[in-house]
């Protein structure tokens, strides 16, 4: 199998797609307003006609590149290219103010690489074991796993738990549309033939993540683009290497753990890593003044999330973040079902993803250190030209999946809905995760009760079920208990 994996990744065609993906990802990530999720959603339609391995690795290249690319505009323009780079601004822009933007970008590049590699190693070590464990899961365990995933999504979504549940509920409700998988009864189809097979979730994702973001960009379309500065001396100094090696591996591990948690994305990984580096420092007061630790930690943290997010996605079919949700869509289009059986039935594909992700991180390092000036030039592409092009890519991308204009309408509808939800400060990520986890919860809930002939005791019959139940209870009650204890402490 090793030879098959090596030959499926180490060939010119695959290298080309990985490098193309990383290049596209860095360019998309560098542009403020274009997120990693948007980038992956826009590139996804290009993979429909490709084989599974090059298609998935192209998307992973975009993902890895975009999370890193966000730091370029964060450091140069004080505007995060992606939300994941928000923490990098704190110290990164201070470097630019001193005329040391090249040094900051070099630290960011190497730290992102180390964070990414740590996460790939974790993906490689943890996933097969987790998949073996997941092979023992039956319908009750999968139902409780989906409920656990949904509970976390709700609790970490934006500023409001209620809004998170609402958008998550919207996503689950969308999954009801179509013929019921167990009884064959059509639900919410309104006698429309296009709805019989359900709402295709790729147009929904393109609408929610790419189109809605493009609408938000229109609000500032007449604001002049910011001028960028020249970049030089990107290779880190000896002192910077020391800092990078001290902080990046730890932040990579933190990012990976956060990535594994369903729903927690690169933005959280970056901020938690930044906070941890600050706590570890003998001089926490220097954070925010432009020190290498302030770039190394968040950048390794956010790229650490990339591999972590793939662990629950590949082993159990539960997306670690919104990009992983899109990757589930990409695998499904290829006729592959993420989950433990993927490891048993398609081991070459799974290990090619691991190896390809490592290659993507190397490509990111090489491109980052050698071509930063080119990516800085990308920042000067006017949004007045770029935004209408994104409209076209959204339309063609949503049409291409089923060659259906109905899907284009669905995409536009969810683009508009996503725009207004963002205006109301409601995160759209729970909707997409609900769209994936909802059907998983429903089908396994009903299957479990079919197995037990209606006895709900089946959900308490295995230790794994209990673990998921306890985790769900901790997730849902944890914030309330924490707030209560904080209040009591304040009163005392």
């Amino acid at each position: 199998m090793l030879l098959s994996v090596l030959s499926s990744v180490f060939n010119l065609k695959i290298f080309f797609f990985i490098i193309l993906g990383v290049f596209t990802g860095i360019s998309i990530g560098a542009l403020p307003g274009l997120t990693a999720t948007m980038g992956v959603a826009l590139v996804l339609p290009l993979t429909f006609g490709m084989d599974a391995i090059p298609g998935i690795l192209l998307l992973i290249g975009v993902y890895v590149g975009a999370i890193y690319g966000g730091s370029i505009s964060a450091i140069l323009l004080r505007t995060p290219g992606t939300p994941a780079a928000a923490a990098t601004i704190l110290d990164g822009y201070e470097f630019s103010k001193r005329g040391e933007s090249g040094r900051a970008l070099g630290i960011s590049t190497v730290s992102s690489f180390i964070g990414g590699v740590v996460s790939v190693i974790a993906l490689w070590l943890i996933s097969p074991q987790l998949a073996k464990l997941a092979l023992r899961f039956s319908a009750p365990e999968f139902f409780l796993l989906a409920v656990f995933g949904l509970s976390i999504i709700a609790s970490i979504s934006g500023n409001s738990l209620a809004k998170g549940v609402l958008t998550g509920g919207l996503g689950i409700s969308l999954a009801f549309v179509g013929i019921d998988g167990i009884t064959g009864y059509p639900r919410f189809t309104f006698n429309n033939i296009n709805l019989l097979s359900g709402v295709s979730f790729i147009p929904v994702m393109i609408g929610l993540f790419a189109m809605s973001q493009a609408f938000t960009t229109i609000e500032t379309i007449f604001t002049p683009d910011q001028v960028t500065q020249k970049v030089s001396n990107v290779f880190p100094t000896k002192a910077d290497w020391k800092v990078i090696f001290k902080h990046a591996p730890i932040s990579g591990v933190i990012g990976t753990i956060i990535g594994i948690v369903p729903g927690a994305g690169a933005e959280i990984g970056a901020f938690v890593s930044y906070g941890q580096a600050k706590r570890m420092s003998k001089h926490p007061e220097r954070f925010g003044t432009g020190i290498p630790e302030g770039i190394a930690a968040p950048e390794a943290g956010n790229n650490g999330v990339t591999g972590g997010a793939l662990i629950p996605m590949l082993t159990m079919g539960v997306p670690g973040d919104a990009v992983a949700a899109i990757l589930i869509g990409a695998l499904t289009v290829q006729g592959l079902q993420p989950g433990p059986m993927l490891f048993a039935e398609h081991p070459v594909l799974v290990y090619s993803i691991f190896l390809g992700m490592f290659v993507a991180n190397v490509a990111m390092l090489v491109l980052g250190l050698s071509s930063l000036r080119l990516f800085v030039k990308v920042l000067s592409v006017p949004k007045s030209i770029l935004t209408p092009m994104i409209f076209v890519l959204c339309v063609v991308g949503s049409y291409a999946i089923n060659t259906s204009f109905f899907d284009v309408g669905v995409m536009l509808f969810f683009g508009v809905l996503g725009y207004f939800l963002q205006k109301a400060d409601a995160s759209v990520s729970p909707a997409v995760l609900g769209l994936i986890l909802g059907p998983m919860a429903e089908s396994n809930f009903r299957r479990a009760l079919l197995m037990s002939e209606g006895s709900y005791g089946i959900f308490l019959s295995s230790p794994i079920s209990w673990i998921f139940l306890i985790l769900t209870a901790i997730t849902l009650l944890g914030p309330f208990v924490g707030a209560y204890l904080k209040k009591r402490k304040a009163q005392a």
């Binding site: 409001s160 809004k163 409700s173 609000e219 006017p382 109301a424």
Partner: protein, 150 residues
């Protein structure tokens, strides 16, 4: 934000009520095994509870937390005009064909958003449209020939 929260709360309540109304005729549970209407009812109930929680939280919101949501400024009106333009574009797309409709749509948006000369906008829009058409039609084999024109 208060107004927006009330609208979100109301809209989602209506959405949940519609789910309950539509799923009332679906087959019920059979011998303890849930039928197709059980999950929609559970999720609709959750949506209603969350809408009520959002409504109550918004009522309790401190005035200083009430950040106004911009829905009527010039910048937001530009978004509404863009959405209207895209609806027209998507309607005409299958009737007229990809290259014609997309080139015109891009030309108009480029000219509106940028200060480039007409010929530059036209050149970029046609080149980009043909490039995308070739990529999807020739490389990816997506059927892109539809409409009375091209």
């Amino acid at each position: 934000m208060k107004k927006a929260n009330f609208v979100v709360s109301g809209a989602f309540t209506l959405f949940a009520l519609a789910i309950i109304f539509l799923s009332r005729s679906y087959p019920p549970s059979n011998h303890g095994v849930p039928g197709p209407r059980m999950f929609p009812l559970i999720i609709a109930t959750l949506i209603i509870i969350s809408s009520v929680v959002l409504f109550i939280n918004t009522l309790r919101m401190k005035p200083e937390d009430d950040v106004p949501v911009d829905l009527t400024s010039r910048n937001v009106l530009n978004v509404y005009i863009t959405i209207a333009g895209l609806i027209v574009y998507i309607t005409l797309l299958p009737l007229l064909g990809f290259i014609t409709t997309t080139s015109i749509m891009l030309l108009l948006f480029f000219k509106w958003f940028s200060r480039y000369a007409w010929w530059k906008c036209l050149l970029i829009s046609v080149l980009f449209t043909v490039g995308i058409w070739a990529l999807f039609s020739i490389v990816l084999n997506v059927p892109m020939r539809y409409g009375v024109l091209i």
